[in-house]
Symmetry: C2
Amino acid sequence: MLSPVKNLKIYELVMEQIKDIVKKGELKTGDKLPSERDLCERLEVSRSSVREALKALQMLGLIESKHGEGNFIKENFEDSLLEPLSIVFLLLGSKDEEVLELRRVIEPEIAALAAKNITGEQLIELKEIMNELNETIDAEISVSLDKKFHYKIAKASGNNLISTIMFSISSLIEKYIEKSKVHTLNKELVKTQHEEIWKALEAKDFEAAATAVRKHLELNTDL
Amino acid sequence: MLSPVKNLKIYELVMEQIKDIVKKGELKTGDKLPSERDLCERLEVSRSSVREALKALQMLGLIESKHGEGNFIKENFEDSLLEPLSIVFLLLGSKDEEVLELRRVIEPEIAALAAKNITGEQLIELKEIMNELNETIDAEISVSLDKKFHYKIAKASGNNLISTIMFSISSLIEKYIEKSKVHTLNKELVKTQHEEIWKALEAKDFEAAATAVRKHLELNTDL
């Protein structure tokens, strides 16, 4: 069942196989994994390799072990898995212009989706973030709130996949905002532009939302 | 130095701290990590917690251990790390419409970037993928080549961050293409549309490239 793959450790092969099971749709979030013994038989590997793979999946935050019940695929990955991922993006994305380019590729379109799908509650939450941002003079808090503002818009897109991707790069975005020093240099302009984005979202005007985000991301061209 | 965080295991806290070091720009790809002893002292945790964190980072494919030399941050993550990530996206992204929506958000803009930055060599490679795709009648191979075609375009964007994200969702895209049965139902149309995309890239016409990709992604609306 296992075909030889170069440079892969056994537990990585086991993870590959588990991935294939997921891909076939046999396993989804919340489901119980086959027992260690079943996995050994099905994947034709030793018990210790299966244990190592399960440990790796646990470390990745993909599965959780419930005492006496076995291993389950997590219902919610937000807390755990994407954090290590953000380390990768931090390592890879050291170039500021790449981060800005990525933001320009995805965020205007995400805002357009959000304009279609945002709920009243989400509009209020966004407004609260904006108010907090206006009230603080702390640079670090400002950066964190600004990141939160943009992530909230991704959540409001209603597309789980999109918000997961935005979540996984949010450390990068945070670092980018921090380096741009926009909250020290252009605090008033950020305020006006965030309001403009908010108004377009409230009006459910998807073109205006995309345009407002695009304009907002122009702010840092000279970084 | 460590502030208490709910529900986090010690090794996760250590990973958090290592992430902070990366965030501050003290560590980048290829760099050597501080020794286990240094990490213990700096992070004020036990040797075994540091070892567990390093093991987790190794499993994630973020670091590699060189015998007698210590631990290094990997130069290239493509082979290892993003594979487990694609499991998450497979699990999360079970909704076909979410995958299509994501593709519509990012791929036209990525193609526009690629039109600006694609090299002659990459154009030839893309052409080769198209030729292989035209020659095969195997459904599975077609799906894999189609995925490769779109990933190559992301690589040609010249933005490492963007191609990493595309790589991390490529299993999802593959599954999506497979389910759309587009290679069984519309093989000729796929061929024509891929050619259209290729011509726009060759002409370095970024608007035409985005439009061609947008049109291509309309193909599966009835999925």
